[in-house]
Symmetry: C2
Subunit: 419 residues, 2 copies
């Protein structure tokens, strides 16, 4: 297999495909007698088949040449599977504990064969809605971000390696353009795709479209997203791209991967934790006011950045004599200079992360794609109250991001949203 044309999978063809692909067939014990197949994709972007026999299991993911969005079809290159597979392999090499293994990739078929993340793995976002605490989440996700972002940046690479990788991922431009539209553009103009909890947030959505300072700031972030090839970023690192159990954290779905600003990944994760935080009051019920859970989310938000900072700078220290081309040891390897270089870098990275995170929060409330954290709140008035608090916090954060010196100050500002 692998020659010929793209063909959307169905069960019958999937079985033929696996039988003809030794690397996949072997994982199932070269025997399909007790085969079980389950399609679990949401059908909007990709087919996702869980394939199991008594001897083994795997997941087959196939990208389709469109995405479906609020009922409409939006053409979208299936070449994204190539960039997803490339990024999965690269991130898996750098952080194998937190990325599922890729067994097989077929570019013609836009098909990835990868490790099945078995139950009790669930999507992190669903865990956050259910109020489940994940004690290792901050530790794990900061590990993933520190390793993947540091090692693919000029802190680790030569400019030769870097420019070669940048050029490759320029090919994923269609996915970048989708982000540009839905994160940086649509929420700030009238668009058929936008929606919000109406009528409650009508004025709020309008205020976003008429806020010149907000638009000035989001333009700066958009240009940084388009122009700054800082590291290989996941490109969509929200809580729906992470699968978790109590002690496992796995990052999936890097189909938006390209060389972009590190803060876009860090901000995406922080922002989705903060959205989860603001949604909790909508999930509170008699006997469970979610107060403690909200504290856990804030602590995880704070720990995610703090641990990222610690791990990232530790990698930097480890590599200070064999670093990439950004800071040559012959010039920068003196203790005082190292310190101010790192402090400056991390402060700017925090500000970038807060800016991108804020933009991602805004777009989840007044843009096309919302988050289940809020959508699962059935009472629209109650949902709108939660969303408005999140939106106002995000607007402040986008405008004032450079005034925050530490993540602790950010967490305090979140808590003060209620006063």
């Amino acid at each position: 297999m692998g020659s010929g044309e793209f063909k959307p999978l169905d069960e019958k063809f999937l079985i033929e495909y696996i039988q003809a692909t030794p690397s996949l067939y072997a994982l199932l014990g070269n025997n399909l007698q007790d085969l079980q197949i389950k399609e679990v994709g949401d059908g909007n972007l990709n087919f996702v088949f869980i394939v199991q026999t008594s001897s083994g299991s795997l997941v087959i993911k196939q990208a389709l040449p469109y995405i479906r969005c609020i009922g409409e079809s939006w053409p979208m290159t299936k070449e994204r599977a190539y960039f997803e597979a490339s990024a999965l392999k690269e991130q898996g090499r750098l952080c194998p504990d937190h990325v599922p293994e890729v067994y097989h990739f077929d570019r013609t078929m836009s098909l990835i064969g990868m490790r099945y993340l078995k139950p009790p793995h669930i999507i992190l976002r669903k865990g956050l809605i259910a109020g489940i605490e994940y004690p290792f989440l901050a530790e794990h996700i900061s590990e993933f971000m520190a390793k993947t972002l540091f090692t693919t940046s000029l802190l680790s690479l030569t400019t030769t390696e870097h420019k070669s990788a940048v050029a490759k991922y320029c090919g994923n431009v269609e996915m970048c353009r989708l982000t540009e539209q839905v994160v940086f553009s649509d929420p700030y103009k009238v668009s058929e795709y936008n929606h919000w909890t109406s009528p409650y947030l009508d004025k709020d959505a309008e205020a976003v479209r008429e806020d010149n300072i907000l638009k000035l700031e989001v333009a700066e972030l958009k240009l940084k997203f388009c122009e700054r090839a800082q590291a290989l970023i996941h490109g969509d690192l929200h809580t729906g791209s992470v699968m978790v159990t109590h002690d496992s954290t796995q990052v999936i779905d890097p189909e938006f991967a390209f060389y972009g600003p590190m803060g876009f990944d860090i901000g995406a994760f922080l922002a989705n934790l903060i959205l989860a935080y603001f949604s909790q009051d909508g999930h509170a019920e008699q006997g469970n006011d979610r107060k403690n859970y909200k504290e856990w989310i804030l602590k995880t938000t704070e720990d995610t950045w703090s641990l990222f900072d610690k791990k990232f700078t530790a990698l930097w220290d480890e590599h200070k004599n064999s670093s990439g081309d950004a800071y040559l040891p012959e010039i920068y390897n003196n203790a005082e200079l190292q310190l101010i270089v790192k402090q400056k870098f991390m402060k700017e990275l925090l500000h970038d992360s807060l800016g991108f995170g804020a933009a991602k929060m805004i777009r989840r409330i007044v843009g096309v794609a919302h988050v289940e954290d809020f959508e699962a709140i059935n009472d629209a008035a109650r949902r709108a109250d939660c969303e408005r608090l999140a939106l106002n916090f995000a607007k402040m954060l986008l405008k004032e991001r450079t005034k925050f010196q530490t993540i602790t100050e950010v967490v305090l500002a979140i808590q003060n949203s209620y006063s």
Copy 2:
């Protein structure tokens, strides 16, 4: 021709090549009877042949697979000719008045056939050393920069066009690495390639290597050079890359072209005018104190930025309803917002230009490649005095660049260097 292998040109082979290449042969009237050939390259990087008959003329430029530097040979990809030819064609399309026409390109031979810029065209740097005023220089070079930088940026391009062009020029990484080394690294460490007017500037060179704040700032600029794909830049826009007559200004030699920060081009040109300014006292002689010429250089420095600002923002205004992806008209087309967006953009671009310009001044005094403006001052003590003033100004500018609000303030600071 065009098939086969790379072969360095000699006169005999050049004649065969032209005869076998209709586009070149026709320019000479399809007749080589009164042919004149003159090799005028400096022999360090490229062969440059001027080819003339009574019917026409052209220049043949061939890149060699190395550069020679202070007597040593440094391997250097001859593929740079491909990027030079690409950039010449692109810049010529955008600004035909100030870029010589490309007649022919042969990638295998790393050979460009282009318009011969006839006498009295001379290299601008030589004109500045001779004390010649060019009344249209600021007008012309600002036109070149505004048109080439605006039109290749996201102010004019879609992100699809932009990422495709970025990927292409990532291939010119070897030339970028040369810049990284000689501009952003070598001057800040002990390097066999560095030299300066010794012993006069020994302490000054050492001070550059031990200035932590300077190194912190130059690291920021280096990362911007490596990571920020803002526009197709010339990459080496000093006064040796410009040929002039009283009323013609032609930009040549874009072999360092790639997608980088606009300020690198603008800063290079401004910096080399400022170096010319500081060198003038070394060229003063009885009966010509160069005072008026120094004023002309400062006026040209100021006008270059002011006219660039005017032309660049005028292009922006012209395209405000059909712009690139940076600022979509549906979001940014309101007068008040347009104004603050442009002001912010131009202020940051000025700061980038001042930073890159300062780094380029420093490297011309304590790095590997110096400028003839200073080298032509035979008295070493006198030369060192001029260079020290330039170096101190550049160090201040690199550290304090964001404090300057206008080019007028920069010019005042240059004048105050003597007090």
